[in-house]
C-alpha cells in the first residue's frame, strides 16, 4: 500500500462549528418533548491535515457522541461539520455514503464491530465491493492482505474469524477495517482502553506509524489523559457537552488553565511513587451533573474548587486566550488569570 497524495486544500481537514446533539426527553401519554439531554452543546474545533486532535473527558461528557456526530453516525441537531470543506450535514444519503470513504471510525471493541461468522478477509473486502472500488475481487483480496500485513498481523490472518484473535490483534483488525477504503480522517473512540497495558503501547505505536506513512488525520477520543497526551498534537478537554480548554498538547499539560483540566491532571495516576507523593492533589467534590439539566452559567461551577460568587453562575464562559500563554491555548473560565496567579482562594481550602 502506498501513500497517495492528499489534496493540498487550504484550511483544516475537519472543521466543526457550533455542533449540537440534543436528545429529546419525551414524557406523558402524547410523548410530548419536555426537555433535552444536551449531550453536545455548541462545540467548535479544527483538525489540521496530518495532525491528531485528542478529545479527553470523563464518561458522560459527550466526547463519544461528538465523534459519532462528526461522522453522522448520530444525527447532529445543530451546527456544522465540514470535511475538506464539504458540509457533511447538508449531504443526502448517496453523497454521505460516498463521503464515508474519506472518514472512518475505529471502535473501542473491535469484536463487536465484526461479524463473528465472517472471516476477516471477507469482512474487509466487503466495503471495497460496496463502494465499487475498481479492480475486482482478486485485487481487493490482494489489497486486504497487504493491509493486514501492514497492521502487523501474521500471514494467514485473513482466513481466521474474529474470536481467534487476541485483544490486541482484534484492534489491529479494527484498524485495518477502517483503513481499507483509504480514508483521510480516522475517528478513534477509546482505541486502546479495552487492551492490556503491555498491548496498549503496541497499538498506539502502530497508529502513529500509520499516520506518518499514510498522512492520516486523527480525532482520538479517550478518557486516559496519558494516552491522549502521547497521541495528540492538539488536545481538547470536554466537560458536560462543551470544550472547556483547548491547546497544543505540550502547553496544555505543562500549564493547564481550566480548574477542570487541573483537577483531571492531578487525579491521573502516575507510575512513579515519588511523583505521586509530591504532586498537588485537587479532589473534586460530587459527581457530574445531569446533561438534561446542566447548571446555569459555567457548567463546572458545581464542582469547581475555585468557584466565585455570581459571575460563575450567571454567565457561561466562552473559550478565550489568556495573557502569558500561547494564543493557541484557549480556556473557558472567567477566573483563569486569577487562579493561575493564586489571587482567588479555593473554596475547599477553608
Amino acid at each position: 500500500m502506498t501513500a497517495r497524495p492528499r489534496d493540498a486544500a487550504d484550511g483544516p481537514l475537519l472543521q466543526v462549528r457550533g455542533l449540537e446533539v440534543h436528545y429529546p426527553i419525551r414524557s406523558g401519554l402524547l410523548k410530548r418533548t419536555v426537555g433535552a439531554v444536551q449531550a453536545v452543546d455548541g462545540v467548535d474545533l479544527d483538525v489540521e491535515r496530518g495532525t491528531t486532535y485528542g478529545l479527553v473527558g470523563e464518561s458522560g461528557c459527550g466526547k463519544s457522541t461528538l465523534g459519532r456526530a462528526v461522522l453522522r453516525l448520530t444525527e447532529p441537531t445543530g451546527g456544522s461539520v465540514r470535511i475538506a470543506g464539504e458540509d457533511v450535514r447538508a449531504m443526502g444519503p448517496e453523497a454521505l455514503r460516498r463521503a464515508r470513504r474519506q472518514m472512518q471510525m475505529v471502535f473501542q471493541d473491535p469484536l463487536a464491530s465484526l461479524d463473528p461468522r465472517q472471516s476477516v478477509e471477507s469482512a474487509l473486502v466487503e466495503p471495497l465491493r460496496v463502494h465499487g472500488i475498481e479492480g475486482g475481487p482478486s485485487a481487493w483480496r490482494t489489497r486486504v492482505r497487504g493491509l493486514l500485513d501492514r497492521v502487523g498481523l501474521p500471514a494467514g490472518a485473513g482466513a481466521k474469524y474474529p474470536h481467534e484473535f487476541s485483544g490486541g490483534q482484534r484492534q489491529r483488525v479494527g484498524i485495518a477495517r477502517a483503513l481499507v477504503l483509504d480514508p483521510d480522517l480516522l475517528v478513534a473512540d477509546e482505541p486502546v482502553s479495552a487492551l492490556d497495558v503491555s498491548v496498549q503501547a503496541q497499538v498506539l505505536v502502530l497508529l502513529q506509524e500509520l499516520q506518518a506513512d499514510l498522512g492520516l488525520t486523527y480525532l482520538v477520543i479517550a478518557h486516559d489523559l496519558a494516552v491522549v497526551k502521547h497521541m495528540s498534537t492538539t488536545v481538547g478537554v470536554m466537560y458536560l457537552g462543551g470544550i472547556v480548554e483547548e491547546g497544543p498538547s505540550a502547553q496544555l499539560y505543562a500549564r493547564p488553565l481550566h480548574p477542570y483540566t487541573r483537577a483531571l491532571l492531578s487525579a491521573a495516576p502516575v507510575p512513579d511513587p515519588e511523583a505521586e507523593a509530591t504532586r498537588e492533589r485537587i479532589l473534586l467534590r460530587g459527581d457530574l451533573p445531569s446533561p438534561a439539566d446542566p447548571p446555569s452559567g459555567c457548567r463546572f461551577r458545581t464542582r469547581c474548587p475555585w468557584v466565585q460568587p455570581t459571575r460563575c453562575a450567571d454567565e457561561r464562559p466562552a473559550l478565550r486566550v489568556v495573557a502569558g500563554h500561547s494564543t493557541a491555548q484557549r480556556v473557558a473560565c472567567h477566573w483563569a488569570e486569577e487562579i493561575e496567579a493564586g489571587t482567588v482562594s479555593r473554596a475547599d481550602a477553608a
Binding site: V197, Q200, A201, H230, A267, A268, P269, L283
Partner: protein, 336 residues
C-alpha cells in the same frame, strides 16, 4: 518475627473440565500482609490476580476447582476451614470490594437493607442501632444526605456512589482484612482519586490490612506499601513500592513501565511496547513464561524452576534487607 495477619503460601488453583486439559490459573503464589499495610497484586488479564483473591476468600466454585497450599489468616488456615465457619468470618473479619459496582449490589433491595444485612448477620445490634450504624457508614464514605440514600435503590446512584456503598458494606463490621479487586477500574479518573483516597485513609486510620488488586501501575504507585507483580500465575517480582518503581528487576516489570504513557512524560518521548500478548507463553516447567516476549532472554531462561529470589545487585546494595525479589535469570539493571 511474628507472623503476618494474612499469609498465603504456595497457593495453587487448577480448573479442570472433563475432556479438556486442566488449567493452572494460580501456580504457587506466596505473599503476606500485615495489619495497616496495603499490598498490591498487579498484573494483566489472565495473570491469576483475581483468582488468587477469590481463593483467599473461599469464593471459588468447588466443582472442577482444586486449591492447594495454605492461606493463614491470623494463624488459622482458611482453606481447610469448614464452609460454614468461613462464611461466618467473611463479611466480618474478611471483606471484599469488587470491581463492578453495577452488578455487586442487589437491584431490588434498598441500600439501607443491603447495608444492614451484613450487620444483622454478624452483630447483635437491634434494628434501630443497625440503621444508625448504616447512616454513620454512609457518612464515613462521603455520601451526601445519607438519610435519604438509605431508602434508595442502586440504580438511583452514580457509579462512584455505588462503589462507595460497596466500600461502606465492606467496612460495616470493621474487618481486619479488605480485598479490593480493581475497585476503581470502572470509575472516572476524578472519582477514582476520591475512592482511592477514601480506601487508603480508612486503612491507615483503622489499621485494617488491604490487598489491592489492579492492572494499573499508577494506582499502585499512589497506594501500595508492597507490590507483587504477577505473570502467568506466578509472582515474578516482589518489592516495596519505592524499590519496584525505582529499580524494576524482572524484564516484565521494566517492560511494562517503559510501555505505559505518562501524563508527566516530556514531549515526544517514545513508548517501548512489550511485543506479543499473554497468549505467547512458555510453560513455567520449561522456563520463564515471559521468555517469548522478552528482549533479553536466552537459552539460560529455558530451564524450569527459576526461583523468586533477591538479585545479586540488590543483595550488594542492601545485604541485610533482601526483600526485593525477582524471578529472572537476567534481571534489569544488574551490575554483573
Amino acid at each position: 518475627m511474628s507472623p503476618s495477619l494474612l499469609e498465603v503460601e504456595d497457593l495453587r488453583v487448577t480448573f479442570s473440565r472433563r475432556g479438556q486439559p486442566s488449567t493452572t490459573a494460580v501456580d504457587g503464589v506466596s505473599f503476606s500482609v500485615d495489619a495497616g499495610e496495603v499490598v498490591g497484586l498487579v498484573g494483566e488479564s489472565g495473570c491469576g490476580k483475581s483468582v488468587t483473591s477469590l481463593a483467599v476468600m473461599g469464593l471459588l466454585p468447588s466443582r472442577g476447582t482444586t486449591v492447594t497450599g495454605s492461606v493463614r489468616f491470623d494463624g488459622t488456615d482458611l482453606l481447610t476451614m469448614a464452609p460454614g465457619q468461613l462464611a461466618s468470618r467473611r463479611g466480618k473479619d474478611l471483606a471484599m470490594v469488587f470491581q463492578d459496582p453495577m452488578t455487586s449490589l442487589n437491584p431490588v433491595l434498598t441500600l439501607g437493607r443491603q447495608l444492614t444485612e451484613v450487620l444483622r448477620a454478624h452483630t447483635d445490634l437491634d434494628r434501630a442501632a443497625r440503621k444508625a450504624e448504616a447512616l454513620d457508614l454512609l457518612g464515613r464514605v462521603g455520601i451526601p444526605d445519607p438519610r435519604r440514600r438509605l431508602g434508595e435503590y442502586p440504580h438511583q446512584l452514580s457509579g462512584g456512589m455505588r462503589q462507595r456503598v460497596l466500600i461502606a458494606i465492606a467496612l460495616a463490621c470493621s474487618p481486619r482484612l479488605i480485598i479490593a479487586d480493581e475497585p476503581t477500574t470502572a470509575l472516572d479518573v476524578t472519582i477514582q482519586a476520591q475512592v482511592l483516597d477514601l480506601l487508603t485513609t480508612l486503612v491507615r486510620e483503622s489499621g485494617t490490612a488491604m490487598v489491592l488488586i489492579t492492572h494499573d501501575l499508577g494506582v499502585v504507585a499512589g497506594t501500595c506499601d508492597r507490590v507483587n507483580v504477577l505473570y502467568a500465575g506466578r509472582v515474578v517480582e516482589s518489592a516495596s513500592r519505592h524499590d519496584l518503581f525505582a529499580r524494576p528487576r524482572h524484564r516484565y516489570t521494566s517492560g511494562l513501565l517503559a510501555a505505559v504513557p505518562r501524563v508527566d512524560a516530556p514531549e515526544g518521548s517514545p513508548l517501548q511496547p512489550v511485543p506479543g500478548s499473554v497468549r505467547d507463553r512458555l510453560e513455567w516447567d520449561a522456563g520463564c513464561a515471559f521468555l517469548p516476549r522478552c528482549g533479553r532472554g536466552d537459552d539460560a531462561c529455558r530451564t524450569g524452576g527459576i526461583p523468586l529470589a533477591p538479585t545479586a545487585t540488590d543483595l550488594a546494595l542492601s545485604p541485610g534487607n533482601p526483600d526485593h525479589e525477582a524471578r529472572c535469570v537476567h534481571p534489569a539493571g544488574a551490575t554483573t
